[in-house]
Symmetry: C2
Subunit: 196 residues, 2 copies
DNA sequence: GAACAATCGGACTGACAGTCCGCATATTAC
DNA sequence: GTAATATGCGGACTGTCAGTCCGATTGTTC
């Protein structure tokens, strides 16, 4: 719709160019090489433009991760079982962690860059918060006896970029999936189930 | 030859001064304020001296953490039960994690600084490696069916500086201890016992 | 097509990690 | 005590980076 709040065409074009440039640099050179000067140069825009769009380095990497996590977000919000809201919590949680493992294994470099950039305030990152809220929600239903806030953070700790890299480099993506699954089933199996 | 390898008296004095200055700055201003220029100034030495002693920022913070973790290292290596080698693995592991929780809760700022500084190569940090090796060793005895390498990293993930800060700020050190303990007992209780 | 606001670009700033080398001093030999 | 020497010292210097700022430019509206 043509609301008074329109993003100008060049602004849109530049935002896309910047995101694309950041992805290219990340993929080609690793996260340590990706300074915002270089992103701006690669995107063919000025440095100020990058900062106006994304605020700072953190904002840029958050936007990138959010983009990559979009499908998963939709799947848990409105998708079909086992990720979607129709399944019971006991099914959704392992399915969600499986999906996270797959996402993490496929985006190690981005994950590492994001982690470094958001180190200061991990707990305000929208993607992280969404994941945490989702786990918290599921755990509250299935394991109300736990400190679900802490447990959710601890579970997300399994997707620490360095750990993911270490595991995937020594055993491939399957090892990550398998290990995550066996650790979580062990954990969840043992906690007392809620009484009806 | 009578010990050709002597550390000069001024070198020793400066090393202590630097470590002390770093602790003071960390305690008084938080980790973001602690640049190596400031540490050098606070210690009353030149910047070059800091780098000659510790190599780089990472080295300085590793040395600090190692110092704070010294008592725990001794306790697990040669101390009395339940931390020491006389106890069975099923007892030592929870005891060790309890001790880590206490250590972490009491050194949040150092932990955060160390984590930022070592982000690049967490898995080469001597203190982290020692802790990981200890957990791996204990798990191998008590739960050989697990991916013990992964599980040890995941357990150490509970002591992520941001998580520790979050939990301690909202519930005090007791909440950290309690949550760590309940999560680990849940996990360890459930895993199948080793087959004879 | 003119007026206007949104956007652009890149020079500039300040801070930091890490290097380098001439100078100072602790230690040793005598 | 003094001289020789090696060890350590200090801080100026470099290169890089995140983030700011403002005159120039360009898209949009009427």
């Amino acid at each position: 719709m043509s609301q008074p709040v329109h993003e100008r065409a060049d602004a849109t074009r530049n935002r896309r160019a910047i995101l694309h440039a950041a992805e290219v640099l990340l993929a080609e050179h690793g996260f340590e090489y990706v300074s915002l000067d270089k992103v701006a140069a690669e995107a063919g825009v000025g440095k100020g433009t990058v900062f106006r769009r994304f605020g700072n380095r953190t904002g840029l990497l958050r936007a990138l991760l959010e983009e990559r996590a979009l499908l998963l977000s939709e799947a848990i919000a409105t998708g079909p079982p086992p990720l979607g809201p129709e399944s019971p919590a006991e099914v959704r949680l392992p399915a969600f962690l499986d999906a996270l493992a797959e996402l993490a294994a496929g985006n190690i470099v981005l994950l590492a860059a994001h982690e470094r950039a958001c180190a200061e305030d991990k707990y305000t990152d929208p993607t992280y918060l969404r994941w945490h809220a989702h786990i918290t929600d599921l755990l509250t239903r299935s394991h109300p006896d736990l400190d679900v806030d802490f447990a959710a953070h601890a579970l997300l700790g399994m997707f620490d970029a360095d750990l993911v890299r270490h595991i995937v480099d020594n055993g491939g993506p399957e090892r990550l999936t398998t290990s995550v699954r066996s650790l979580t089933t062990a954990l969840l199996r043992s906690a007392p189930a809620p009484k009806p």
